[in-house]
Amino acid sequence: MALRRSKLGSSILSYAILGAWGLFCLLPILYFLTIAFRPRNEIITPHPIYWPTLTIETWAKIWEDWPIVRYFINSSEAIAGSVFICLLLGIPAAYSLARYSYRFREDIGFYILSTKMMAPAVVAIPLFFLFKNLHLLDTVWALMLVYAAMNLSIVTWIIRSYMLDIPHEIEDAARTDGASDLRILWSIITPMCLPGIITAGVIAAIFAMNEYLLTLIIATREAYPLSVALANFSGGSDGIIYNAIALVGFLAFIPVLILVILIQDHLSRGLTMGAVKG
């Protein structure tokens, strides 16, 4: 009896903790969501308004003042291009690391991984001058190249982890049938580790969407993607225009949410580059 009561007590406590953290996660998001629908005079007030009047009248002005669609296209182009580069370079590299034994393989694998530790602040100045000299500053191309470099290490390692799970017998059978190594990679291995490739692509896309410091330095106007565009939503006497920020914040949030729900069972494996299976 005592046991049952303490068990009930501990499960109430456990749900109380989970519920409290759930509210802590959710309430700022809900508040921010209402910001997108608020008239401007109900956002920055001496005392916060918790039950605002909701309107989408401000959206027309936001649409007029900023090329939101342009920002969205910039983000999409830079992200899609960077994911493509990552997969193009990462899949063969992952195959090489997963399936062949050769000298320096460990060192090469470690080198690729170690670029994950490269601090954006360290490369910011050199990349600024590199793109300046190449006349690529403020272009989507520069963002694409930077995002690809930033994500190539994780993409390679995630895909490598999924390739290690594929039994060797399948390749050996194809090889005795006379298939070349490249053909095996393209027709057998790539389709078989598709979940890994999709996971790697989604995670790379999210990280590219999130990137802030290097984006801030490269994109100065024309190439603004969403992450940096929203930091510039302010106008003279209006101060920071939070409803535009909230609107764009959710515009970026929704596709990310959908992608993450699609890969949710692979997310932890992807984020740890294969260290956790499950």
């Binding site: 456990s14 953290w21 996660c25 700022p28 998001i29 508040y31 921010f32 910001i35 920055i44 005392h47 916060p48 370079l89 063969p92 590299a93 090489s96 399936r99 050769y102 090469i108 470690f110 080198y111 690729i112 170690s114 994950k116 530790m117 490269m118 601090a119 954006p120 602040a121 360290v122 490369v123 100045i125 050199p126 690809a148 470099a149 190539l152 290690l164 090889r175 005795t176 190594d181 969407m209 999130n210 802030y212 410091l213 330095i217 969403l226 992450s227 929203l230 930091a231 920071i240 970026a252 990310v256 949410l257 949710q264 932890s268 984020l271 740890t272 260290a275 956790v276 299976k277 499950g278």
Partner: protein, 309 residues
């Protein structure tokens, strides 16, 4: 019909006769290098070049016309209290944030992983991580400063008597950054820990359970030690990101009050892209680069393994 069959059979025989490994021994030995080379060259281009450029640039001063400065930038850097403060702030903010995130994420994961609603909890707790860091910074800039929501809620709860300016006080300003990071990135550790706990062998737990061990004792004596390698990997990955903390500093505090929230990343950004002292900022980049490379050698090589496992 028979003809066709014979023809096909001869075709197969011919195919079987061609040697399976047609390529020269050199090609065979070089092939894996060809596969990995494009990725390595790309990464070398975008990491080695910046490293060398930063080293070269750190020996020069000036914005447009470069003047040889020798090690002036470095001597200046090592006597600059702002630089040391940024290192200290990064270490302090980083360790507090990482510690808190670890404790919260592990607690939530331990409570949730055997719950039938685990998938729903997971999505709920994941939500903050799905916003762009710049958007998250603005959410909290509004909640703390411009919208005064946090202070208002604390006043309503009776914990605070008067409105406070979060930027006026070193502790409060740092607390803001910790809160922002905790809110957004605890989910990162949480989902990794949940997956690790779910992936563990249930039989060991059941056996211990039958022996009369309590859930807490099973968790601390069996589950936690078993997942130690994953904990280390997760903390390294989170640690890398925390050390590079930039967006909330740039958007919310900009280093105030008095540089108490200036991280290393923000120091480099401020000296270069605000004050245009590129030589000086490059020297700081080089020091950062050395710190990071040493840490990477110590940590990553030990805890990640490449090749067949």
């Amino acid at each position: 019909m028979a003809d066709v069959l014979t023809q096909q059979a001869t075709g197969w025989a011919a195919a079987a006769k061609t040697p399976v490994r047609r390529r020269s021994p050199f090609m065979r030995a070089a092939f894996p290098y060809f596969l990995v080379a494009p990725a390595v060259l790309y990464l070398l281009g975008i990491t080695l070049y910046p490293g060398l450029f930063a080293i070269w640039r750190s020996f020069y001063n000036g914005r447009f016309k470069l003047e040889w400065a020798g090690i002036d930038n470095y001597t200046h850097l090592f006597t600059d209290p702002d630089f040391w403060a940024s290192l200290w702030n990064t270490a302090l903010l980083g360790s507090i944030t990482l510690g808190l995130e670890f404790v919260v994420a592990m607690t939530l994961a331990a409570l949730v992983y055997r719950d039938p609603l685990v998938r729903a909890w997971r999505i709920l707790f994941l939500l903050p991580m799905l916003f762009m860091p710049s958007a998250v910074s603005f959410i909290w800039k509004l909640l703390f400063n411009d919208g005064r929501v946090v202070a208002d809620l604390l006043m309503r709860a009776g914990l605070l008597s008067d409105n406070i300016d979060w930027m006026s006080n070193i502790v409060l300003a740092r607390l803001m950054l910790v809160t922002v990071d905790l809110w957004e990135w605890t989910p990162f550790l949480f989902i990794i820990f949940v997956a690790a706990l779910q992936g563990q062998d249930k039989e060991i737990e059941e056996a211990a359970r039958l022996d009369g061990a309590s859930w807490t004792s099973i968790f601390f004596n069996i589950s936690l030690p078993l997942m130690q390698p994953i904990i280390v990997v997760a903390l390294i990955l989170r640690g890398i990101d925390i050390v590079n903390m930039f967006a909330p500093v740039h958007i919310i505090t900009q280093g105030t009050p008095g540089g108490a929230t200036e991280t290393m990343s923000y120091f480099v950004y401020r000296t270069s892209f605000r004050q245009f002292d590129f030589g000086y900022a490059s020297a700081a980049s080089v020091v950062l680069l050395i710190l990071i490379t040493v840490t990477a050698q110590l940590l990553v090589k030990k805890h990640f393994r490449s090749g067949r496992e």
